[in-house]
C-alpha cells in the first residue's frame, strides 16, 4: 500500500498542467467567468484543441486514437482539467457512443463515425429516455420497422440533452414488439437532419435550454446504421451505462467547487468579518471536504481495481450516488454563502448604463439557478434510488 504518485506520474502531471496553461483559450475563460450558458462553439473550441493533441479521449484504446494513458494518468488528467476549470468535454460522443462503436461496430462503422467523433465534427445526443420510459428504460416504445434496407422509426424521445446542437443521435428503439422488455431493442445511429425529426426545447428550472423532446415520424434509417445485432441493443446499452458511470464521481470538479465556496466565504462579510470565520459555516465546509476525501479514496480504490483488470462494476453506483450528493451539497453551500444576492435572477439582464448599481458580487449571480439545475444529477444517469437498488441487488445480494 502506498499513496504516492510515481516520478513518471509526477512528470506527466507537470506536462499536462503546462499544456492546459499554454493552450486553454482565453475567450472561454471570459465566458465562464461571466457565468454565461455555454454555446455549441464554446464546447467545441476546447474539444478541437484536445483532439489535435490526441488527448480528447483518454479512455479509448490507442488503436482508435486514444493516448494510451494508465488509469492513474487519466485520473491526473481529469484532476488537472478541473483545477484549471476547463470546459468539460461532452460525454455523449467520447464517453458513450464512441466506446460502443469501437466495441460493437463493424469496420465500416468505426471508419465512418470514430474519426469525426474525435475531431468534434459529429456532435452526438443520447436518445434513450421516453415519456413512459425513464427509470424503466426497457419499457421504451419508439418503434423501428424494417422496410428493405431501411428502418422506419416512429416515436418520441425526451430529456435529450443538447439535441438542439446534435448532428447525430444514438437511439434505442424497439424492433421486436413481441419480445420481452429487454429483448427486441436495437441500437441505431440516426442523422438528426433526417426528414421526420422534430426537436422541441424543454426549459428547466434555472431557465436553461439544455434538454429537448425529440419526435420521430417515419424517419428512414439505413440498416447499416444499426450497431450490433438486431434485437440485441440492450447489450450495447448496458455496456454504455457502465462507461457512463465511471468518472461520474466528479471528484476533481467537486474539489474545485469546494475551493470556490471557500473563496466566496473569504469575500462575503458577516458582522464585519469574512464568512469563513463563522464557526457554523466553516464546519460545513470541513464536513464537505471530508465527504469528498472519502469519495476520492473510494474512487482511487476502484481505479486500482480497474487497473488490475476488473471493469467498472456495480460499485460504480456508489461513486454516482456519493458524487452527486456532494455536487448538490456544494451548490447548497454556495447559495447559502451568497446571502441576499442569491435571489436576483440574472438571465437576460446586462442592459448597459446601469453599472452604477451593480447587483451584488459576481460570484453570487448564478448560485440559485445552479442549485436548481444540479438537482438533475440525482435524477439522471440512473436516479440515486435506482443506484441504491443496484447496490442492494448486485453488491449485497438482497
Amino acid at each position: 500500500m502506498n499513496l504516492d504518485f510515481s516520478p513518471e506520474d509526477l512528470a506527466f502531471k507537470a506536462e499536462v498542467r503546462a499544456f492546459i496553461a499554454e493552450n486553454y483559450p482565453a475567450h472561454l475563460r471570459d465566458v465562464q467567468d461571466e457565468g454565461e450558458e455555454l454555446g455549441k462553439e464554446d464546447f467545441l473550441a476546447w474539444h478541437r484543441i484536445l483532439a489535435k493533441k490526441g488527448w480528447v479521449n483518454p479512455a479509448w484504446p490507442t488503436e482508435y486514437g486514444g493516448p494510451g494513458w494508465t488509469s492513474v494518468q487519466r485520473y491526473i488528467w481529469s484532476e488537472e482539467c478541473a483545477l484549471a476549470d476547463t470546459v468539460p468535454i461532452l460525454p455523449f460522443g467520447i464517453n458513450m457512443v464512441g466506446p460502443v462503436i469501437y466495441t460493437f461496430g463493424t469496420p465500416e462503422q468505426k471508419a465512418k463515425f470514430l474519426p469525426p467523433t474525435l475531431t468534434g465534427d459529429i456532435w452526438w445526443c443520447q436518445g434513450y429516455s421516453e415519456p413512459g420510459a425513464g427509470s424503466d428504460l426497457a419499457n421504451l416504445r419508439t418503434k423501428a420497422v424494417r422496410d428493405g434496407d431501411h428502418y422506419i422509426v416512429n416515436g418520441q424521445k425526451t430529456w435529450t440533452t443538447m439535441a438542439q446542437h446534435a448532428d447525430w443521435g444514438f437511439f434505442l428503439v424497439r424492433t421486436d414488439p413481441d419480445a420481452k422488455a429487454q429483448e427486441g431493442i436495437s441500437f441505431l445511429l440516426i442523422d438528426m437532419k433526417s426528414p421526420g425529426i422534430t426537436v422541441r426545447p424543454i426549459i428547466t428550472l434555472g431557465g436553461e435550454h439544455e434538454v429537448n423532446e425529440v419526435w420521430l415520424e417515419n424517419v428512414r434509417v439505413p440498416v447499416e446504421n444499426r450497431i450490433f445485432h438486431e434485437n440485441k441493443g440492450w447489450t450495447c446499452a448496458k455496456f454504455l451505462l457502465a462507461h457512463e458511470r465511471s468518472g461520474i464521481a466528479g471528484v476533481a470538479r467537486s474539489k474545485r467547487g469546494v475551493d470556490r465556496i471557500k473563496s466566496i466565504a473569504r469575500t462575503e462579510s458577516q458582522d464585519g468579518q469574512p464568512l469563513i470565520k463563522d464557526s457554523f459555516f466553516k464546519r460545513k465546509i470541513a464536513e464537505l471536504e471530508i465527504d469528498l476525501l472519502a469519495l476520492e479514496y473510494t474512487e482511487l480504490r476502484t481505479l486500482a481495481a480497474e487497473n488490475a483488470g476488473k471493469g467498472p462494476g456495480p460499485e460504480s453506483s456508489l461513486l454516482k450516488v456519493k458524487g452527486t450528493e456532494i455536487q448538490q451539497r456544494i451548490t447548497e453551500l454556495a447559495l447559502e454563502a451568497a446571502g441576499h444576492y442569491g435571489m436576483p435572477y440574472f438571465r437576460g439582464f446586462g442592459e448597459a448604463g446601469h453599472n452604477a448599481l451593480a447587483i451584488g458580487p459576481d460570484y453570487a449571480h448564478r448560485t440559485a439557478p445552479t442549485y436548481f439545475n444540479v438537482r438533475k444529477t440525482s435524477i439522471y444517469g440512473g436516479s440515486n434510488e435506482i443506484q441504491r437498488n443496484i447496490i442492494s441487488k448486485m453488491v449485497l445480494g438482497l
Binding site: 428550472l205 435571489m343 440559485a368 435524477i379
Partner: protein
C-alpha cells in the same frame, strides 16, 4: 390552550382560499411573472375592496377588521398555496407593522391608505455588507434643517418596483453595527435622490437595488424613536418571519399534495412509483416536516406579543424548522417527480424555487440557530 380559529378567521381563510383557487391558478401566475409590471395592481384593488383583507390585522379604530398576527398567518398560508406575488407581506405585515407599533405623524393616514389599497410598501433594510444583521447599517440619516437627509445603499429590496413607500432603516448615531443609533423612516418611493435598479428574482418576484443620495424627509417621516429603532425593527421583522413561515407552510402543503398525486399517477416498472417503499418513506418524511412546520408557525405567531426573549426564541426556532423543512420538502418533491420536476412547465418547480428563497429570507437556518442559541443558552438567557 386553544388551537381553534374564530368564525371570522375561518371566513377570512375561505375568502382568501376561494380567491386563490378561482383567480390565481398557475397559468395566471405565470402570466403575471412574465408581464412587464410583474404584479397585478387590479388584484390588489380586489383584495382591498372586494375581499376586504388588507385591513385584516388592523384595529377597528384604525379602520381595520380588528384581527392580528393570526389573521396575517391565515392570509399568508393561503397565499403560499397559490404562490401569490402581490405584496401583502411587504405592505400589510411589514409596512403596517411599523406603522402600528411605531406610530409617527403619518401613521393614521398611511394605515388608511394600506387598507384602501392605495399604498404599497417595501422594506429597505438589507445592505450589501450586512448579510442578516439588521443593525449592520452604513445608510445614514443626518439632521438637515427640521428633517433628515438619507444617504446610502440598500440591497435586494423585494417589491420595491411596485412600492409607493419604502420603510428605510438608517444609522443616525453610533458605530456601523451598534444596537443604539438606528432610526426608521417612511419615505415616498419617488422621492428626489432615490435611484433604483429593478430586476426579477429567481422565485418570480421583483426587487431593486436602491441608492439614496441626499434624500430629504421631514421629521414626520420618523417611525418609532430616533436612535432607538432597532427594537422596533426586530419586532416587525419577527412578525414578518412568522408570516413568511405561514407562506412556507402553504407552499409546502401544496408541494406535498402535488407530489403524492404525481407519485400515484406515474408508473414505472408496471406499477405506480408510489408503491416503492423508499418513496413512500420520503413522502412520509415530507409530511412530518410539514406538520412540524405548521406547529412551529402557530407557536411563533402566538408568541409574537410576548417578551423580547420569548418572542425571539420562538420566531428563530420556527425559522430554523421552516428553513430545514423547505429544503427537505422541496428537494424531495423534485426528486420524486424525476425529470418532470426539473421542468419550468410544472408548477412544482416554482414552489420549490419559492421555498428555497424562503430558507434565506430574513436570515438563514444558521443565522437563526445562532440567534436562538444566544437567547436560550448564551448571554441573553
Amino acid at each position: 390552550m386553544d388551537f381553534n380559529f374564530t368564525d371570522e378567521q375561518n371566513m377570512l381563510r375561505d375568502t382568501v382560499a376561494k380567491f386563490v383557487q378561482q383567480q390565481y391558478d398557475f397559468d395566471t401566475r405565470r402570466a403575471i411573472v412574465k408581464s412587464e409590471a410583474g404584479w397585478r395592481p387590479d388584484y390588489w384593488k380586489v383584495m382591498a375592496e372586494e375581499l376586504g383583507i388588507l385591513g385584516a390585522p388592523f384595529s377597528e379604530d384604525q379602520g381595520g377588521l380588528g384581527g392580528g398576527p393570526v389573521d396575517n398567518m391565515i392570509v399568508m398560508e393561503e397565499f403560499g398555496k397559490g404562490l401569490v406575488i402581490e405584496p401583502y407581506l411587504g405592505t400589510v405585515v411589514i409596512g403596517g407593522g411599523f406603522l402600528k407599533h411605531g406610530g409617527g405623524a403619518q401613521a393614521g393616514d398611511l394605515i388608511a391608505s394600506i387598507i384602501g389599497g392605495e399604498a404599497t410598501f417595501a422594506f429597505a433594510y438589507a445592505e450589501p455588507q450586512g448579510r442578516y444583521n439588521l443593525a449592520d447599517l452604513t445608510t445614514t440619516a443626518t439632521k438637515d434643517g427640521a428633517g433628515y437627509s438619507i444617504n446610502g445603499r440598500k440591497a435586494v429590496v423585494v417589491g420595491a418596483p411596485w412600492a409607493s413607500h419604502l420603510i428605510v432603516t438608517t444609522r443616525t448615531a453610533g458605530g456601523q453595527r451598534d444596537r443604539a443609533g438606528v432610526t426608521v423612516f417612511v419615505v415616498p418611493a419617488d422621492a428626489a435622490g432615490i435611484t433604483r435598479r429593478d430586476y426579477p428574482t429567481v422565485d418570480g418576484l421583483r426587487a431593486s437595488e436602491i441608492q439614496f443620495d441626499n434624500v430629504k424627509v421631514g421629521a414626520d417621516a420618523v417611525i418609532g424613536t430616533v436612535d432607538q429603532g432597532l427594537d422596533l425593527v426586530e419586532l416587525v421583522t419577527d412578525e414578518a418571519i412568522a408570516a413568511l413561515c405561514a407562506e412556507a407552510v402553504g407552499a409546502m402543503r401544496k408541494i406535498h399534495e402535488t407530489t403524492i398525486d404525481y407519485a400515484r399517477q406515474r408508473k414505472q416498472f408496471g406499477v405506480p412509483i408510489s408503491s416503492f417503499q423508499v418513496l413512500q418513506h420520503r413522502m412520509v418524511d415530507m409530511f412530518m416536516n410539514v406538520e412540524q412546520s405548521v406547529s412551529m408557525t402557530y407557536m411563533a405567531t402566538l408568541k409574537l406579543d410576548e417578551s423580547n426573549v420569548e418572542r425571539t426564541k420562538a420566531v428563530s426556532a420556527a425559522k430554523v424548522q421552516i428553513g430545514k423543512a423547505c429544503r427537505f420538502v422541496g428537494q424531495a418533491a423534485i426528486q420524486i417527480h424525476g425529470g418532470m420536476g426539473m421542468t419550468d412547465e410544472l408548477a412544482v418547480g416554482h414552489y420549490f424555487k419559492r421555498a428555497t428563497m424562503i430558507e434565506g429570507l430574513f436570515g438563514s437556518v444558521d443565522h437563526h440557530l445562532r440567534r436562538y442559541e444566544t437567547f436560550s443558552l448564551g448571554d441573553a438567557a
